[in-house]
Symmetry: C2
Subunit: 414 residues, 2 copies
Amino acid sequence: MKHVLILGGGFAGLECAKRMRSENFRVTLVDRWNHHLFQPLLYQVASGALAMAEIAQPLRSILSSHKNVTTIMDDVVHIDLPNKRVQLKGRSLDYDFLVIALGSKTSFFGHNDWAQHTLGLKSLDDAMAIRKKVLLAFEEAESALNSEEAQKWLTIVVVGGGPTGVEMAGSLAELSHRVLKDDFRHIDPTQAKIHLIEAGPKLLPMFPGDLPDYTRERLESMGVTVHLNCPVKDVGQGYVIAGDQRIDSGIVIWGAGVEASEVSRTLAGVNLDRAGRIEVLPDLSLPGHPEVFAAGDIVALTDKHGVKVPGVSPAAIQMGAFIAHSIQSEPTSGERPAFAYWDKGSMATIGRSAAVVSFAGIQMRGFIAWLMWLFVHLVFLMNMRNRISVFLHWVWSYFTWQRGARVIQSPRNS
Amino acid sequence: MKHVLILGGGFAGLECAKRMRSENFRVTLVDRWNHHLFQPLLYQVASGALAMAEIAQPLRSILSSHKNVTTIMDDVVHIDLPNKRVQLKGRSLDYDFLVIALGSKTSFFGHNDWAQHTLGLKSLDDAMAIRKKVLLAFEEAESALNSEEAQKWLTIVVVGGGPTGVEMAGSLAELSHRVLKDDFRHIDPTQAKIHLIEAGPKLLPMFPGDLPDYTRERLESMGVTVHLNCPVKDVGQGYVIAGDQRIDSGIVIWGAGVEASEVSRTLAGVNLDRAGRIEVLPDLSLPGHPEVFAAGDIVALTDKHGVKVPGVSPAAIQMGAFIAHSIQSEPTSGERPAFAYWDKGSMATIGRSAAVVSFAGIQMRGFIAWLMWLFVHLVFLMNMRNRISVFLHWVWSYFTWQRGARVIQSPRNS
């Protein structure tokens, strides 16, 4: 029985594991976390709207009925392509087929020293760190000795004008200007300043037409200060320098870019793009290694229709399914088919009743787009319980302006 | 305007703050956490059945409409009774009236070195630590090199036969023997051993009649090994010695006893009982300090009907309300009234469809008692959103044997 080793339980790896239904294959899925994370809603955990468990589900429980799939919670240390072996922290595993779906991590474009002063948003750990830091900042401001000190605590910087930055900034604006409005006695949370910093000339540059402009206007009307054409030049303890401006802030959330998981750089004889992504063949295999595939946003690929495949979850899911099909069709007589990305469009939410949607040449914005965003995200959530739970929390929040998960797990002085 | 300073936002302190409706008083509530915790359901967070946010709510948001109440998130360092001043970590506060409602902490009966080898269950931090350790133990067992090592990972010890120990042991038995049943490939989670250790001759000794025996039988039928008359003699790295038995286990959950929060021991000229609880006057004030009250399980009191008031949430709520009333009735002409505890009965859940209930001389057990337990806990949950959310999770779990919050926030090797 051939052994298929899948590294990573994100959208690509999990989809591949679920599709490996043939009993001729033994499948092992390795992930450093015990759960699959629904990353598109991670910013809602960070801003206290949803609980961790609502967007994360144990990989074991998802794959419980897939008896040919074994799940291992461990870190990938090294991939030994010539010997077809993967070294984990706890053991090593041989494979017949390998699927590398380790995803991406926050990139600081060479300024790795900025990492210690910023908060990324890739994992539940990250989201809980942001939630804690933001909620504690309001506590510190409430206890501050003077209004200058308080204002520094009430200044939050979000770097990056892509979907992560836009969603995070919008959500923090609503948190401070609406949700927390009546909860303090010494400070006025509506005076909190949310800065969104983008190096390029517009927000959400991947969206067509006037959607980027609409996004900026909408965020500004929600009280977000948007800085365009404003590359970050330095980040240090308590400040950001962006363009020619210095912003004093204890909280800098970094949504500006990603690069491939570091394991990609340890692969011998494999071409990577500048962000460390693996340049795969049209069938998603590695050059010279037909038994090794890569999927998800660790991959740099222009598909057979000449489309540069973006690092989004629909692309990851399509790649995972494609690879599972390829492996289960082996040994094939002729050449393998080439992967083709099916663009399902893009959507991003700005805030309550406001989102932008673009698909099949159609552009939408505002309330209808927001309802579509809600609907699509509910449908793609992993299971029915989470769907119901998230739906109820959203309905509740819509009518009460409350958030369900404003809990700091640890005491203030821990 | 008189200043009422309340230390602690548990059941006693929060109830007192909510009842201070008179505008003649300025109220400050201090807690080291940002939330009120519904402790009776904490074991369900520890065993992955509920999410943190479902049993915790920000104190600020609960007290949002109480405009005369200020909430401060900080630690109490010292209470200076003669100067009517409380030192927090970040500042000091003067008071006209003081309410000490700082609760209790896990007690090791003098063996404080056992603390490092055991897990308490008093806070969300504690519950998340237990959840992580238990779920990771199954991961370690699945990766273990031999069955002996695996069995050690699959052995969990719960110390203390009171409600906390019984509920925790029952919940862990269901987790391993039912919920995780199909999720592993190398180990059989139903082989996990849950030991419940009690120093005295019966479980739930505060319950009358045959309820303690019923509880033991029921736990045993669920696969829990119950050890009675078995005092813990030593706890070390990876083992517990109880009675004349040594149990090898990496997870020891300590539900054996509580003592008053350490601040009580810093009070000058105040009598404490052996567990550090404050011996208050019948009106809940401190001898010689009519302006200082204590409430909740930091108090040792036999009420005016000769009943020793237990450290349970209904008693805490009654004390908090009583003190708020006393303060708002000041200045009083005659003597203050004495506190009388209204015993609302006791209940504890053992597992699915099994609980014990005792009130007003009536004893109940089994399914009906379990439904009563569910109903009462839903009613007393802080707000409607959490009620709906918890109710749905319980219904879901009942029919699917799944648990909603089996998420480990951090990677395995962190």
